[in-house]
Amino acid sequence: MEINRKLSDLRRLDELSAGTSYIHGIHTLFILLVTFIYIVTLMSFDKYDLTGILMMFLYPVFMFRLAELSFSESLRKIRYVLPFILFMGILNIFFDRDPYLVINGFRLSRGAVSFFTMTVKGFLAVEASYVLIATNSIYDICAALSMLRLPRILISLFLLTFRYITVMIEEVANMTEAYSLRAPGQKGLHISSWGSFLGQLLLRSYDKANELYLGMEARGYTGDLRNYDIGKPVLKDYVFLIVVSALIILCRLINVPVTIGNLIRR
């Protein structure tokens, strides 16, 4: 069931983030920055820059290796974004039929090229975010965001919501299962239960939240959850940031495959 799969996804990512690889040891803030630099660079590639974008494959390849992550496991992540990208991309093939390249009568249209670069971009962006989330716990990310001076209330909300989500998903999964057992052969919620199903859960959760708030207040809560501290970055973090982002930007500025090709042709 979809709900249970989401739950196991969450649990698995939590397990992965507890790893001890080289990448796990890098300061979260710096992985966050590198991920953003990588994705922005990736997005900035021209939609017909088929050769240039190939170099961008190197980042996930190295990161997966260094972080000891399984590539095949990450492929499941793409199932949400891929259909839309494929749909939009395939339309490019029909709308952009000018030739990009003609070799011996074989004609590659510009639409096909942009379809390919778009799919690659979508795929690589998901892989890069996967590296980020599989090597850093939610707590690390919240701490890094707080170092970036994001509003505290947003970060506290992020952390607390994440804690509740597993509880709530389990609850909804139980309720859905109980409902489906009472309504065999029915695909979803009948309209007569649309309001009460989520409404009941909402009311119960509100009471829980109030009790929780009283409990927090009794323990001295004043509007801030806690001090987020994951330590100061050290030399190797700076080296990582500078080297990796320099390489990423270099790959953007110099079309490495074409440069190599020209060298060989000469």
Partner: protein, 354 residues
């Protein structure tokens, strides 16, 4: 409606991040100022609930299909627009990080398309005016409240989803990564999201009606016992109705116009026709070439074809996109500030919140 990174240009993504970031900053500031941080556990629980609620299948009567909910309207009706917005930001961030549903760089755009419209536009222009209006007075108080909840939920979901879908089209078209013509894309997205909005509106109203029966004090702007300030409301009611009518008519017009996509494209991008022709002309010249030179020539072509004439035709598109990004950010930030001022204008009186 979650956009992927692949569909956006960096300038568009960063502009949308700036817009959503400013809105989140203002919302957080507002919550801190009103000392509503005590609502944190309630916000977190509601956000988690909406997140889980999105996984429930709702059977649509009379059809074989099922619908889902998105939650912007539900959150702002329960928590108010600022808290609702921050909760949606968190939901979208978790969806993006843990389930790869929507891109990391596209998060700003996704927050804008789903959270901003659902929470701020939905609350200030639809939920609040309708709930405070004198509509359905003849039906008796309880029935009138129910009718208003249904009307506000459905209208809110439909209008905010239309706005969101339209923004997706705009952001994608400005990014220039897909070849789908603007008109065709609008004609595809808006009717689909009209249906989704209707279903979502029905689900939202069902949940809110249930809450209204059991614990009416949980709903925002639900004046349970007293009905004061009728005269003041009437002006706001008129403004709200006008705004909603404008939005719906605007959306409707774009639908009608989209049956003639070329006409709309011509109207919106008056010069694209010329640019397009030039593009084709250039193409024939370099037809069959495959050298690094031809690649940079293509870049020039692209910037000619996809940036309208008021933008920058530098072949180093980075300069153009940076300037566009800054200008875009300023415009969007100004819009946000105006909406927040408008919100303040509407929010004279403090409402009782449980």
């Amino acid at each position: 409606m979650h956009m992927a990174d692949a569909l956006l240009a960096p300038a568009v993504a960063i502009t949308m991040y700036a817009a959503s970031g400013v809105t989140a900053g203002i919302s957080a500031h507002k919550l801190n100022k009103d000392e509503e941080t005590s609502k944190l556990p309630t916000m977190a629980v509601t956000a988690a609930l909406v997140f889980a609620g999105q996984m429930i299948n709702y059977t649509i009567p009379g059809t074989g299909s099922s619908g889902h909910m998105c939650g912007g309207m539900l959150l702002s009706a329960l928590l108010g627009p600022q808290a609702g917005f921050l909760s949606m930001v968190v939901i979208l961030a978790i969806q993006c990080l843990f389930f790869a549903d929507g891109g990391l760089m596209a998060l700003g755009a996704n927050i804008w398309n789903m959270a901003f419209y659902g929470c701020f536009v939905g609350y200030y222009l639809i939920w609040r005016p309708i709930m405070k209006s004198n509509l359905f007075q003849k039906m008796g108080e309880a029935a009138a409240t129910r009718a208003k909840i249904i009307l506000a939920s459905i209208l809110g979901c439909v209008v905010t989803l239309q706005l969101g879908a339209f923004s997706v089209v705009l952001e994608t078209t400005i990014s220039g990564i897909t070849e789908l013509p603007f008109g065709t894309f609008v004609a595809l997205m808006l009717p689909i999201h009209l249906a989704i909005g209707l279903v979502e509106g029905l689900i939202t109203s069902a949940v809110l009606l249930f809450v209204n029966e059991a614990r009416p004090e949980l709903l925002r702007d639900n004046e349970v016992s007293e009905r004061d300030g009728k005269k003041k409301m009437s002006l706001k009611g008129v403004i709200a109705v006008l705004a909603v009518v404008t939005l719906v008519v605007g959306g409707g017009l774009s639908l009608i116009a989209s049956s003639n996509p070329d006409g709309l494209e011509w109207a919106l991008f008056g010069n694209e026709d010329g640019g397009y022709a030039a593009n084709m002309g250039l193409d024939e010249e370099e037809f069959g070439l495959s050298s690094p030179l031809s690649e940079s020539a293509q870049k020039v072509q692209d910037s000619v074809a996809f940036l309208p004439d008021y933008a920058f035709k530098d072949n180093e598109s980075a300069i153009g996109t940076t300037v566009s990004g800054i200008v875009g950010s300023l415009i969007v930030a100004a819009v946000v500030v105006i909406i927040c001022i408008l919100g303040g204008f509407f929010r004279k009186k403090k409402t009782a919140v449980a």
